[in-house]
C-alpha cells in the first residue's frame, strides 16, 4: 500500500493510543501485577509482610515425581496376592508422609501404571491443578472440533432454499444471546439425576427402558454434560460464521461439480471444504480461546466436582485467589494458563499460516 511508504508516527500514535492505552492500563498492567504476585507469598488479606519467594509457587504447582512401589511380600519373600489375585502394594502415604523421604512430602498420587510386578506411581505436588489442566485441555480438544463440526452441519442444514428457513436459522442462533449463567442454571434442571428433564425425555423416548442418570453427579458424565451444554449455547454463533463462508463459494463451482457427476461427498470434499478454509481457521481459534476460559458453567453447575472431574484452570485460579485467599497461588495459575494458551495460539498460527 502506497500510504505505508510515508511514516506518520504522530498520527499513528494519536489514533492508537486511546484504545491501546486503556488496554495497557486495565489488562496489561494488572497482568504484570499478577505475574509479580506469583513470585511472592502475598495473601489476599493479611497483616503479614509480603515476601519475595522466587519460583516457589510454580514449584508447588508443577512438581511431579515418579515413585516405584514393589509389591508386598510375606516373610518367605513370596509376593502377596489379594483374594482376587491382584498384587498388593504398600500405600503411597507410607512414602509421602515418611520423614525418611522429605522430597515427597506433601505430594499425592495422580495416577499409576504397572511395569512388571512393580507399580509406578506419578505423584504431584498439586493433584487438583493437574486434573484441572487435563480437564481444560480435554474440554478444548473435544469442543474445538466438536462444536466446529456440529456448527458446520447446522450451516449445511440451514443453507437450503426452503420457505421459512430464516425462522429456523433464528431459532438455532437464539441460545447465543442468552447469558451463560442463565443457561447453566436452566441446564441444572435438565441434568438433574432424579426427575431432570433429560432423564424424563430419554425415558419417555425409550418407553421407560432408560435408567435415569445423574449427569452432573458422576465422574464419567459430568465433564461431558458440561461440554454438551457449552456446545448447545455457542454452536449457533459458529454456524452463522460457517454459513457466511458457504455463501461466498461461487455457485458455478457447484454447477461444474454437478456436470462432472461428483457425488455429494466429493462435492463437499473438493468444492465446499477448500472454500471454507479461512473460515475454519477463524472458528477454530475463537473456540479454542473461549474453551480455555471455561469458568461460569463450572461455578454454577458443579464447583469442580465430583472428585475433581470438572475442575478447570480458571475455576482453580478463582477458587484459590478468592475462596482460599491465596492470591499468589491464584496468580501463578493465571500465568501458567497464559503461557499455555500463548503456546497453543502460536502453534495454531504456525499450522494454519498461509503457504505462499
Amino acid at each position: 500500500m502506497a500510504s505505508k511508504l510515508t511514516t506518520s508516527n504522530a498520527a499513528g500514535w494519536a489514533f492508537a493510543l486511546p484504545g491501546f492505552g486503556l488496554i495497557c492500563l486495565f489488562i496489561v498492567v494488572p497482568f504484570f501485577l499478577a505475574f509479580a504476585l506469583s513470585l511472592t507469598n502475598q495473601r489476599l488479606i493479611s497483616p503479614n509482610p509480603t515476601e519475595y519467594v522466587g519460583f516457589a509457587n510454580y514449584k508447588s504447582l508443577l512438581s511431579l515425581a515418579v515413585i516405584t512401589l514393589e509389591p508386598e511380600r510375606d516373610e518367605a519373600g513370596e509376593i502377596v496376592r489379594a483374594e482376587d489375585g491382584t498384587l498388593v502394594y504398600p500405600r503411597v502415604r507410607t512414602i509421602t508422609r515418611n520423614p525418611d523421604f522429605p522430597e515427597y512430602r506433601g505430594m499425592r498420587e495422580w495416577f499409576r501404571w504397572h511395569s512388571g510386578d512393580n507399580a509406578r506411581v506419578v505423584v504431584a505436588a498439586d493433584v487438583v491443578f493437574m486434573k484441572a489442566l487435563v480437564n481444560t485441555l480435554t474440554f478444548a480438544l473435544v469442543i474445538a472440533p466438536g462444536q466446529g463440526g456440529l456448527a458446520l452441519l447446522l450451516a449445511l442444514l440451514i443453507n437450503q432454499r426452503l420457505r421459512g428457513i430464516n425462522i429456523f436459522r433464528t431459532i438455532y442462533f437464539m441460545p447465543v444471546v442468552v447469558s451463560i449463567v442463565v443457561v447453566s442454571l436452566l441446564w441444572r434442571f435438565i441434568y438433574d439425576g432424579n426427575d431432570g428433564l433429560l432423564n424424563n425425555i430419554l425415558s419417555s423416548l425409550t418407553f421407560g427402558l432408560f435408567e435415569p442418570i445423574d449427569w452432573l453427579g458422576r465422574t464419567d458424565t459430568a465433564l461431558g454434560s458440561i461440554i454438551a451444554m457449552s456446545i448447545w449455547q455457542a454452536v449457533g454463533f459458529h454456524m452463522v460464521i460457517w454459513l457466511a463462508g458457504l455463501q461466498t463459494i461461487s455457485p458455478t463451482l457447484y454447477e461444474v461439480a454437478q456436470i462432472e457427476g461428483a457425488s455429494k461427498w466429493q462435492t463437499f470434499r473438493y468444492v465446499t471444504w477448500p472454500g471454507l478454509r479461512n473460515t475454519a481457521v477463524l472458528v477454530l481459534i475463537v473456540i479454542t480461546m473461549q474453551a480455555f476460559a471455561l469458568f461460569a458453567q463450572i461455578d454454577v453447575m458443579t464447583n469442580g466436582g465430583p472428585l475433581d472431574s470438572t475442575q478447570t484452570l480458571v475455576f482453580q485460579a478463582v477458587e484459590r485467589g478468592y475462596g482460599k485467599q491465596d492470591i499468589s497461588g491464584g496468580s501463578t495459575i493465571s500465568v501458567v494458563l497464559f503461557l499455555i494458551v500463548l503456546t497453543i495460539s502460536l502453534i495454531q498460527r504456525y499450522l494454519t499460516r498461509e503457504r505462499s
Binding site: M1, F15, L22, F26, L162, V178, S179, M289, V314
Partner: protein, 293 residues
C-alpha cells in the same frame, strides 16, 4: 434416478422440515421451560419437571412470580443499570477500537507491529485472573467528579465502564475488516490532501457497517450478560448493581425457583426481543466477519 415422482419430492420436503423442526426443538426447549416455569408456583414447577408438563402452561398459572420478584429486588433498577453500562461501553468501544485498528492498518508508524501484537496477546488473558490486581489499581485511581478530585473509583458507573472499553477482540475484528477494504480509496483520499481523521471519518467508517454491527453485538452480549465478578467486587451500593449481581437476591437458603425463573425471563427477554427484531442484521453482520478468516 433422474425422474423424481411428485410424491417422493413431497416426502423429501416433509423429512427436511421434520429434521429442521427437531433441531429447532433442541435449541428451544430450555428457554420454553424457563418462561413456562416462571408462570408456575415453585412447588408445581419442581414437580412438573418429572413429566412433559414442564413445557406446558398447565396447572396454577399466574404472574405472581413476577410481582414477587419485583417486590424482592429492584429488578427494574438492575436492568436499567445493565443497559446503561452496556450502551455507553459499547459506543465508546467501537469508536476507540476502530480508531486504533485504523491506525494499525493504514498508518505507518514505528512500533505499530509490536503494539498490535501486545494488544492481541491480551485476548488470551481471562478476566477472572486479573480481577484482584485490577481492583487494587482502580481503588486508588483519581476521578474528577461533582465534588472535585476524588480518589478511588468504587461504587460508580464509570468503574464498570472504563476498564471494559478497549479490548483485543474488537480491535482484531476491525483490523481484519479494514485489511480487506480496497486500499486505493484511502490512497486517493490521501492524495487529495484529506487528513487521517477525515479519511477515518468520511472514507473508512461509512464502509464499515457490517463490522460495526458485529463488534457492537458481541460487545453488548458480553457487557449485558457476563458482568458478574467485576461489579461484585467494585460496587457495594445497590444503586449501581447490574443484573447478574441482582441474581444473588434470589438465592436464599431455600430458593424460590418460580421467582428465579421470572427474574431470568425478565433479564433475558429484552435481549431476545432485541435479537428477534434485529435478527437479520444480527446474523448478516456476524456472518460478514467470517468471510475474512
Amino acid at each position: 434416478m433422474a425422474v423424481v415422482s411428485q410424491d417422493n419430492r413431497g416426502l423429501r420436503l416433509a423429512v427436511r422440515y421434520l429434521v429442521l423442526a427437531l433441531v429447532a426443538i433442541v435449541f428451544m426447549f430450555p428457554l420454553v421451560f424457563m418462561i413456562i416455569s416462571s408462570l408456575k408456583p415453585t412447588q408445581q414447577l419442581l414437580s412438573d419437571t418429572a413429566s412433559m408438563r414442564a413445557f406446558l402452561p398447565v396447572g396454577d398459572i399466574s404472574l405472581d412470580n413476577y410481582f414477587a420478584a419485583f417486590a424482592r429486588a429492584p429488578v427494574e433498577l438492575f436492568v436499567f443499570n445493565s443497559i446503561l453500562i452496556t450502551v455507553i461501553t459499547v459506543s465508546a468501544s467501537i469508536f476507540l477500537c476502530s480508531l486504533a485498528a485504523f491506525s494499525f492498518v493504514y498508518l505507518n508508524w514505528r512500533g505499530s507491529g509490536l503494539v498490535l501484537s501486545i494488544a492481541l496477546a491480551t485476548l488470551i488473558i481471562p478476566f477472572e485472573t486479573i480481577a484482584i490486581p485490577l481492583l487494587l489499581f482502580v481503588s486508588r485511581l483519581p476521578w474528577i467528579g461533582m465534588n472535585g478530585i476524588e480518589i478511588g473509583w468504587l461504587n460508580t458507573y464509570h468503574v464498570q465502564i472504563i476498564p471494559w472499553i478497549a479490548d483485543a477482540l474488537t480491535i482484531f475484528l476491525f483490523v481484519q475488516y479494514f485489511k480487506d477494504l480496497p486500499g486505493e480509496l484511502v490512497e486517493a483520499a490521501r492524495a487529495e490532501g484529506a487528513s487521517w481523521w477525515q479519511i477515518y471519518r468520511k472514507v473508512v467508517m461509512p464502509l464499515s457497517g457490517p463490522v460495526l454491527a458485529t463488534a457492537a453485538i458481541l460487545k453488548s452480549l458480553k457487557m449485558y450478560n457476563e458482568q458478574y465478578l467485576w461489579p461484585l467486587i467494585v460496587v457495594q451500593d445497590e444503586a449501581h448493581r447490574p443484573i447478574m449481581v441482582g441474581l444473588g437476591y434470589f438465592f436464599q437458603l431455600d430458593v424460590a425457583w418460580g421467582e428465579v425463573m421470572a427474574y431470568l425471563s425478565v433479564i433475558t427477554v429484552p435481549v431476545l426481543v432485541f435479537y428477534l427484531v434485529l435478527q437479520r442484521a444480527f446474523i448478516a453482520s456476524i456472518a460478514s466477519t467470517g468471510v475474512k478468516g
